[in-house]
């Protein structure tokens, strides 16, 4: 396998929606471009249509009339999955229980009529790539969850797919393993340089793995952007709250300052608004001496998280504010503290009523 080069197809999803036979509208019409060797993450809560969109790309569902799926400009909408050359990794892994690890990985190559020796060589390469050495002859039920995940991945990339489709591949694993495998998966995707669509409901996974993230909500696309764009400039309240932690503050703006119950904070943008919806990330707020800041509040609680602490401050805004502070700062519940927020850390969101 050629390392560090670009692989896979450039994808175009055009006007694809899905209404199931029972009338469920799982996906509103969406149009998306995915560049060659790009990793696109579909992120959203359970039931928002991520799997449906992935299955449309795979060819396991047909989009509603007028929708088209193009691989490198070629319209494959009418082609079934077996003609699309896609590598799929399922949440359940869907490994064949009647085949060994090596047979699972080599199955797609066998179907392509690759001679036995060549097949064995490629399987060996994939086994090494996915750290499965020594497990080649194991049965699937003799593997751990993490090993299964890697077999599923090796099996999917073995066929050198046009696009790798991963549907919550880490969700079935426990938290510690999930974090470690997330790193491994990221390295592997970069190394393979293959076009990939990765479905997850976990925003940390999306941030780490995605070149771009598509945030979805109720079958519609809420925002598309790089992880940084999504995190720092969320398009709306849903994205702001779903990706990372966010304080959402509703207040008027006067003279370029947000008018809050606990004081005033300068904002970038319009000088006057009768009602603004502003987002502030907890880690952008700093605890300071109440005498030096325009905004102050009362410490309502401190949650120590090891590497940092989350301080809840009431009476500064209409709702309690979450502040992430370094673990060295000492504050007590009931203490009055000042809060300093840089103007560019306040993001105004559209007022959705």
């Amino acid at each position: 396998m050629n390392m560090m080069t670009r692989h896979g197809a450039a994808l175009k999803i055009e006007n694809c929606g899905k209404t199931f036979a029972d009338g469920t509208c799982a996906l509103a019409r969406a149009t998306l471009d995915i560049g060659q060797s790009e990793t696109l993450v579909l992120l959203g809560p359970s039931g928002c249509g991520k799997t449906t969109l992935l299955r449309i790309v795979a060819g396991l569902e047909t989009p509603d009339g007028g929708g088209r799926v193009l691989f490198d400009g070629k319209d494959l909408t009418r082609q079934p999955i077996e003609k699309r050359n896609v590598g799929m990794v399922f949440q359940s892994y869907a490994l064949f229980p009647n085949m060994s690890v090596a047979e699972n990985i080599g199955y797609g190559l066998k179907l392509r009529g690759l001679p036995k020796a060549e097949r064995a060589a490629q399987v060996a390469e994939l086994v090494a790539l996915t750290n499965l050495g020594g497990l080649e002859d194991r049965r699937i039920d003799q593997l751990s969850g993490g090993q299964r995940q890697r077999v599923a991945l090796a099996r999917a990339v073995a066929i050198r797919p046009s696009v790798l489709l991963l549907d919550e591949p880490l969700t079935a694993l426990d938290a510690a393993l999930r974090e470690r495998l997330r790193g491994e998966l990221n390295d592997l995707l970069r190394k393979l340089g293959i076009t990939a669509i990765y479905v997850t409901h976990d925003q940390a996974e999306a941030m780490e793995l995605g070149d771009r993230i598509v945030v979805m909500r109720k079958g519609a696309i809420a925002q598309i952007g790089t992880p940084r764009e999504i995190y720092f400039t969320p398009a709306n309240r849903f994205v702001a709250e779903f990706v990372g932690a966010a304080n959402i503050v509703e207040a008027p703006i006067e003279g370029g300052e947000l008018i809050l119950p606990g004081g005033r904070v300068p904002v970038a943008g319009p000088a006057t608004m009768s009602r603004a919806v502003a987002m502030v990330r907890p880690e952008t707020i700093a605890i300071a001496d109440a005498a030096t800041t325009g905004l102050a509040g009362i410490v309502d609680g401190v949650r120590f998280a090891g590497d940092r602490q989350r301080i809840i401050v009431r009476d500064a805004a209409s709702l309690p504010l979450a502040v992430d502070a370094p673990n060295t700062i000492k504050v007590r519940t009931g203490e009055r503290v000042g809060l300093s927020i840089p103007p560019d850390a306040i993001r105004l969101l559209p007022d959705e009523g």
Partner: protein, 271 residues
């Protein structure tokens, strides 16, 4: 009372029932088989006597053919019914499983209605071909009867097993480029293997030992249960019929054990 002795106590009734209803009659049968004028070699007669041997072979072939045909027909039908929703599906399942309750006599009667001297097939063929086709009273009639008997049971088992199949396994195979035929060969059939072995075993054992259908169709079809019946009631040959019964049991058991070891690997892996 310790946990262990409690378990043993619970096993006591099981042991009593096993002894009373399985071991004792079977032992009696074994002894009876050796008590004829020929003594123990009575058992050898099953193999040595050309008539008995031919009958045994006939029975095994019939049972094997029934099993294979049943499995093929029931797998195709069962998979289709499990996967497709169409109007009339429930009615079709009801019709297919209707014969479940019928005793062998009724099945035999239905075969006569179908392929007997006044049967449907005879009527149609004499009108179309000018030649009346009648096969109810032969081994073919019996084969058809056993199919009729076995297919409903196997269909139900296959449908239950197919329902438990993880659809993403098939989707994974297809994503790797598998044609429908390859999916069937590499994914579906291996997953159904335990159900196929279990229901195939029942179909086979039933066809080996069923009596009612054979008796209804004709008294001169050469299958082992008929032979046992004639030896027992007509010839009053207690020892021979006991020896033949034991032979029938052992033979069926052996063939099933053989089938299980052959498919054992795939079954274990798919389980």
């Amino acid at each position: 009372m310790s946990h262990k002795s409690f378990v043993w106590m619970c096993l006591l009734p099981l042991a009593a029932v096993t002894a009373a209803f399985f071991v004792l009659p079977m032992a009696h049968l074994l002894v009876t088989g050796a008590e004829g004028p020929r003594g123990l070699p009575e058992y050898l007669a099953i193999i040595a006597d050309p008539r008995y041997r031919a009958t045994l072979l006939n029975t095994v072939l019939l049972a094997a053919a029934t099993t294979v045909a049943t499995l093929i027909a029931a797998t195709i039908t069962g998979l289709f019914l499990q996967r497709h929703r169409f109007p009339g599906r429930a009615v079709m399942i009801a019709i297919l499983t209707f014969p479940l309750a019928f005793p062998g006599v009724v099945i035999g009667f239905m075969i006569i209605l179908l392929a007997g001297r006044q049967g449907t097939i005879g009527d149609v063929s004499s009108r179309l071909l000018g030649d009346k086709i009648v096969f109810a009273y032969s081994i073919y009639g019996l084969f058809l009867g056993y199919l009729y008997f076995s297919i409903p049971r196997v269909i139900l088992t296959i449908m239950a097993a197919a329902q438990k199949l993880d659809p993403s396994l098939e989707e994974a195979a297809r994503s790797l480029g598998a044609s429908p035929w390859a999916v069937l060969r590499d994914v579906v059939l291996p997953a159904l293997a335990p159900a196929l072995v279990a229901s195939g075993a029942i179909a086979f054992a039933t066809a080996m030992g069923a009596f009612g259908t054979a008796f209804t169709l004709a008294t001169n079809i050469d299958v082992l249960p008929m032979l046992i019946y004639t030896e027992f009631t007509l010839a009053g040959n207690l020892a021979t019929s006991a020896a033949l019964s034991v032979g029938l049991g052992v033979m069926t058991w052996l063939i099933l054990a053989l089938a299980r070891t052959f498919t054992g690997n795939s079954v274990a892996a798919a389980g």
